[in-house]
């Protein structure tokens, strides 16, 4: 098992220094490292318990909590797996300890035994101090769920982190970065987390089309608002600002296959921070994706290179939008692999000669969803492909998972603590190109290689596909434009 050394005291200080002002900490009665919008600090334990009760009433978490409190064996195998604990060496970062923070509240306030014991001893009440500890601990975790694979009892610590953050968010404790973005996405004028207005989106796509024509000498379109297409496309919206090559690679694949696809101007953001802090927001965002696809009468929901966007759509569109009748969701890697296997894509095997490694995004690989497909694609045109170990479902988190990558004020923590093990793994692999098909992983890994001074370029899978794809004009299929408004 790959292990990393504990960080030095200087690094520890750097990672855990908070930029929050002292008066804000005092006003919010909370000492954490991420910014939070002001919230009601009165009767916080009481409101936490009310939120906990409401969530338990309308969810399936209770069953899991009952299961966990009956059988947790405290073997601490999760400790050695957790990249955060390995880096800090602080036992409070042991996944099982973090889980126990919430389980103890559940046991004390929501089980007969706990209530009786509490009454008899007059102790164990939820306190502000415990809420403080949870607020810190649940956001130290990158929700990568690697520890869950190592738990012999099968306890899903990621589920507990997810629930803990949800309850905290109901009493106002959630990173401002995520809340503000989600507010813009759900209630703002632009309707997306990066606040990109539709005219700016159209300009960007036109610009990319021009770029592609210059580079490939082929007219490649980004279809907008086309109805009745096979695929309605939802990338992480930040890709429109930061991942031009990934988008161009995706457009190039569709050009080569001729399949119909579109981006809708009604809603075009795959990002779903609800997965990281609130099931209520998760539901609202997922419904927007579904509604836009239905507005455009699309047949499939196509998610771009983004781990959490893919997981939110794949697993929660059926949950919130119709069960077995819900629209099919596929990730762009699945599509590209399928058409490549059908012989509809051609790659130049001499373009990418550098040492290339693939990083499995936790939200895609942990459940063994898409693992071999991107590898096969890369091996088809990368002369020098190497594996990082451990990999696939056992991959190591980039260090920015669970929404932490979007919290800029904790960058030192992410690149010193969260990503330390990943940095060691990248160094060990010796790769000069690291492929990460996830917007969050890409941002985190770029900051990680910069801060850890690793000579490695971080790209998306379709960035390389864009480089390697060959357009044989005689064979390029004319892109299908189904009947409908354009």
């Amino acid at each position: 098992m790959l292990k990393t050394n504990q960080i030095s005291p200087e690094e520890n200080k750097k990672a855990f220094t908070s930029i929050r002002k002292k008066e804000v900490n005092e006003r919010q009665n909370l000492n954490v490292r991420y910014h939070i919008e002001d919230f009601n600090v009165n009767d916080r334990p009481q409101r936490f318990l009310e939120a906990f009760a409401a969530i338990l009433k309308h969810s399936n978490y209770k069953m899991a909590l009952d299961h966990f409190i009956r059988m947790s064996a405290k073997c601490s195998r999760c400790a050695t797996t957790c990249q955060v604990y390995q880096a800090t060496g602080d036992p409070k970062d042991i996944p099982c300890y973090r889980t126990e923070l919430l389980l103890s509240v559940y046991r004390r306030h929501f089980t007969m035994g706990g209530l009786l014991k509490g009454r008899l001893s007059g102790s164990g009440f939820l306190t502000d101090e415990k809420i403080q500890e949870m607020a810190e601990s649940f956001w130290n975790c990158t929700a990568c769920r690697r520890c869950s694979l190592e738990c012999p009892s099968g306890i899903d610590h990621g589920l507990i982190t997810h629930l803990g953050r949800y309850i905290l968010s109901e009493i106002g404790i959630a990173p401002r970065a995520l809340v503000v973005s989600t507010r813009e996405q759900l209630e703002g004028t632009t309707g997306n987390t990066s606040a990109i207005p539709v005219p700016a989106l159209k300009d960007t796509l036109e610009f990319l089309e021009d770029d592609m024509f210059e580079e490939k000498n082929v007219k490649i379109k980004f279809p907008i608002d086309v109805e009745n297409t096979d695929y309605v496309f939802f990338p992480a919206v930040s890709d429109f600002l930061m991942e031009a090559e990934s988008l161009m690679g995706i457009a190039a694949v569709f050009k080569a296959t001729g399949d119909s696809w579109t981006t809708g101007t009604g809603y075009f953001d795959g990002i779903n921070y609800g997965l990281f802090y609130s099931d209520r927001m998760l539901e609202r965002v997922v419904k927007k994706v579904d509604a836009e696809t239905k507005r455009l009468k699309g047949k499939n929901i196509l998610i771009g290179e983004c781990g959490h966007a893919s997981r939110s759509a794949k697993y929660f569109i059926p949950t919130y939008c119709g069960g077995k009748d819900a629209l099919p969701v596929i990730n762009i890697m699945e599509y590209t692999y399928k058409v490549w296997k059908e012989g509809r894509l051609k790659f130049d095997p001499d373009v990418v000669t550098e040492k290339v490694a693939y990083h499995d995004p936790c939200n895609i690989a942990r459940q063994r969803w898409i693992i071999e497909k991107p590898r096969e694609l890369l091996k088809a045109f990368c002369k020098n492909y190497v594996e990082m170990t451990p990999n696939r479902e056992n991959n190591i988190c980039c260090g920015g998972g669970g929404g932490t990558v979007s919290i800029d004020e904790i960058r030192p923590y992410r690149t010193t603590v969260g990503g330390k093990l990943k940095a060691d793994q990248i160094r060990k692999s010796g790769c000069s190109i690291l492929v990460a098909p996830c917007a969050n992983c890409k941002k985190q890994l770029r900051e990680l290689v910069e801060d850890q001074k690793i000579d490695c370029q971080v790209v998306g899978l379709h960035d390389l596909i864009y480089k390697a794809i060959i357009f044989d004009e005689s064979k390029v299929v004319q892109q299908k434009l189904p009947e409908g408004k354009v």
Partner: protein, 234 residues
């Protein structure tokens, strides 16, 4: 003393065993029932059965999983569990007792294997106790019961070993046998109410966790109503 032993291996044993059995059945079926109720509420009812099965099997027979993470602790733990399950169930003397009360028996452990497994279980129980005590992360998260269980489990194994393999005078034999039977009865009672419940719950974990991620639909409205947050901004 003999009468007391008879009482403890007879009616008291049956009572303790019944408590354990009923307790375990209760939590097992409560788990299944809760999971089924949750499944009925879930918006997405597709289940990755293959993944659930393979991950469950990986932990029921953990050969694939143990070596790469805390290898000594993990291997000791597996060997400890093997002895813990096999010796009480297949020891010749135990099967004879079952035969007396149930009217039928089953295959028994050869003498040498019983000897080796008893010793190994004692050794690994001590090793696991020391491991928990000395390992920084284990000791930090351990509760009282985590330290107590290896020690409690040691009692019937040590006393049973003394009775079966060491020549001691009848009075000492009976004292050890009394401790052996008493500790076994106590263990039976404690099993359903402590972490040892994992003996029946652990195979359900992957199934339970999968369903826990299957959320019910329309919970946004429901939670908002309960918390009086209807119409509240994001």
């Amino acid at each position: 003393m003999e009468d007391l032993l008879k009482l403890l291996t007879g009616p008291v044993f049956r009572l303790c065993f019944a408590i354990m059995l009923l307790g375990l059945l209760r939590i097992f079926f409560l788990d299944i029932w809760s999971a089924y109720s949750a499944y009925r509420k879930a918006g997405d009812k597709t289940m990755p059965w293959k993944l659930i099965f393979s991950r469950s099997m990986e932990w029921i027979f953990p050969a694939k999983r143990i070596a790469h993470n805390r290898p000594f602790y993990s291997v000791f733990s597996v060997l400890f569990h093997i002895g813990l399950l096999i010796v009480p169930l297949f020891l010749f003397a135990h099967v004879q007792l079952w035969k007396e009360s149930l009217g039928f028996g089953w295959i028994t452990l050869p003498y040498q294997w019983a000897y080796i497994l008893t010793i190994s279980t004692i050794v690994f129980a001590v090793a696991l106790f020391i491991g928990r005590l000395l390992n920084k992360s284990s000791s930090f998260i351990s509760r009282k019961q985590d330290y107590l269980w290896p020690l409690i489990l040691l009692v019937p194994f040590v006393t049973g070993f003394v009775c079966a393999h060491l020549s001691v005078n009848p009075k000492i034999y009976q004292s050890f046998m009394l401790m052996h039977v008493l500790s076994a009865d106590l263990i039976f009672i404690l099993i359903p109410f402590t972490k040892i419940a994992h003996c029946v719950l652990m195979p359900l974990s992957q199934f339970v966790c999968t369903i826990a991620w299957k959320f019910p639909p329309e919970t946004d409205d429901a939670v908002c109503s309960t918390l009086n947050k209807k119409g509240a901004k994001v």
